[in-house]
Symmetry: C2
Subunit: 289 residues, 2 copies
């Protein structure tokens, strides 16, 4: 999608890839489907499992339902009802655990030990990264001669996949990852070349609170990605700009790219820019409470 008003505001041609309109409302459906479809018959029969309370949980449940195999999601017992119901709607089984990473992993590995279910990680996985990258592949197919491609970065699955696709298809294009200023561990990981732990922040872009993995970091480095940050206020303004001008519901994680451009319009002025809107799963009830 495009917006004449946004193009005039930024002095650039912006092309939005709308992953908020994707199945489950976010790009995560791509990676989960790719991972599940690549399993051999024997492994698939044993089912898949992950621990997540976010979009990856819904994505894996959706992917498993497509292939008709069992799916187990380990979720903290504090997860919101709406997310529990969404996963159950795809027929997955939910096992609740304590809201700590230790409890999540322990609970998941105990189930793996007894059922032999196959673990599909949320981002640090080549199959998942490749699946997310199809958003970048389609963007390059749909819009010719892109100068810049932008995507938000949390765990790096989307950005790593997109940068791989762009490098192959439009070698001269710059790839810019967008990250909250108060959770800029990916930027620091790329600067130092050493994997940094996630920053413990309450950024409004809650999908980007995770840190990179070793596989995604390696991919971002080898494809020459640049990372830029946005303040919380810029993220908020960028998110509202998309919603007001494109009339699309997006989550704040998807507004970080425009947040970066509000602070640094020179990054793209005069350019043809592809922007991946990563998802649209957000609580809208405050609008008419």
């Amino acid at each position: 999608m495009t917006s004449g008003a946004l193009n005039r505001m930024f002095g650039a041609e912006l092309f939005f890839k709308c992953e908020n309109l994707q199945k489950i409302g976010a790009f995560k459906a791509r990676g989960a489907v790719n991972a599940v479809m690549l399993l051999d018959e024997d492994t698939a029969r044993g089912g898949v499992i992950t621990h997540s309370s976010g979009n990856h949980a819904q994505a894996l449940a959706y992917a498993a339902s497509l292939r008709g195999i069992p799916c187990t999601i380990v979720m903290p017992k504090t997860a919101p009802v709406v997310k529990i119901e969404a996963v159950q709607g795809y027929g997955a089984e939910i096992v609740f655990c304590e809201p700590t990473l230790e409890s999540r992993l322990e609970t998941m590995m105990a189930i793996v030990a007894t059922t032999g279910a196959h673990v599909v990680p949320p981002y640090n996985d080549d199959r998942v990264m490749a699946g997310q990258g199809t958003a970048g592949k389609e963007l390059c197919e749909q819009v010719s001669n892109l100068d810049v491609v932008m995507a938000p970065v949390g765990g790096g699955g989307l950005l790593g996949g997109v940068s791989t696709a762009v490098r192959a298809m439009v070698p001269g294009a710059r790839v810019i990852g967008a990250e909250p200023e108060i959770a800029a561990d990916a930027k620091e990981s790329l600067r130092t070349g050493v994997l940094q732990p996630p920053v413990d922040s309450m950024t409004i872009a809650d999908g980007l609170r995770t840190g990179l993995g070793d596989l995604t970091l390696a991919q971002l480095i080898s494809t020459g990605v640049q990372i830029e940050t946005a303040s919380e206020e810029s993220i908020r303004r960028g998110t509202l700009l998309v919603m007001e001008r494109l009339k699309l519901v997006i989550e704040p994680s998807a507004g970080v790219t425009l947040g970066v451009l509000l602070e640094q319009p020179d990054l793209v002025r005069g350019s043809r820019v592809g922007i991946v809107l990563c998802g649209g799963n957000v609580d809208l009830r405050p609008l008419w409470s």
Copy 2:
């Protein structure tokens, strides 16, 4: 646009015509453009004028800018800055008046007397109604074999135009207008056959607070439209359903149709239903205040 989840929820096939993605964010662009383009050269040269603080003001300013003729908008001095700027963005001149209907009309007619500007009314006008009806024409062209077509009703310009198009193109289809229960003057006008004044209500569907005009009422009667109502809570739920499931930003006036179906799903069960989402101009700042 379509949603598998909404189809399952209502037991029907729903096809959404997305006028929130229209120029100026609402169907009103259609009627204003039709009226302005139909003016003869002499009349056009004198410019156009209307009184409005809503979508019709932006629509007329946009239409005049397309034809390159002067446009004056009479607005109450209490109008929100965002609406003032939107109209100015299309190059129209704004004249402020007191926030009463008397002052609006008086101010407008004084300008007409001195400049000879041509008045384009917001809905009670055959050219405007015909323009809005193109949304219904396109819907019937894009989706075959519709059983039902639904649109909200305020002044009746959209519903009158849509019902005229549907009658001509899919004569057997039912046309249902959707109206807030606490502002059901259109339903009463159709029941009695006598034009009722607008109900003084604060319905959340603020675009539907106006009453019908004599021309729109006559058109609704002659095309056999049926009107159904929704409570404020159903309008709120219907609006959120569209935003959550279709990831589209809509204004509450556009959620009234789903509000009606939440209360009376039997109206459409098993049917192919075209639904006009009238617009998406809504204040989103409460989301992250």
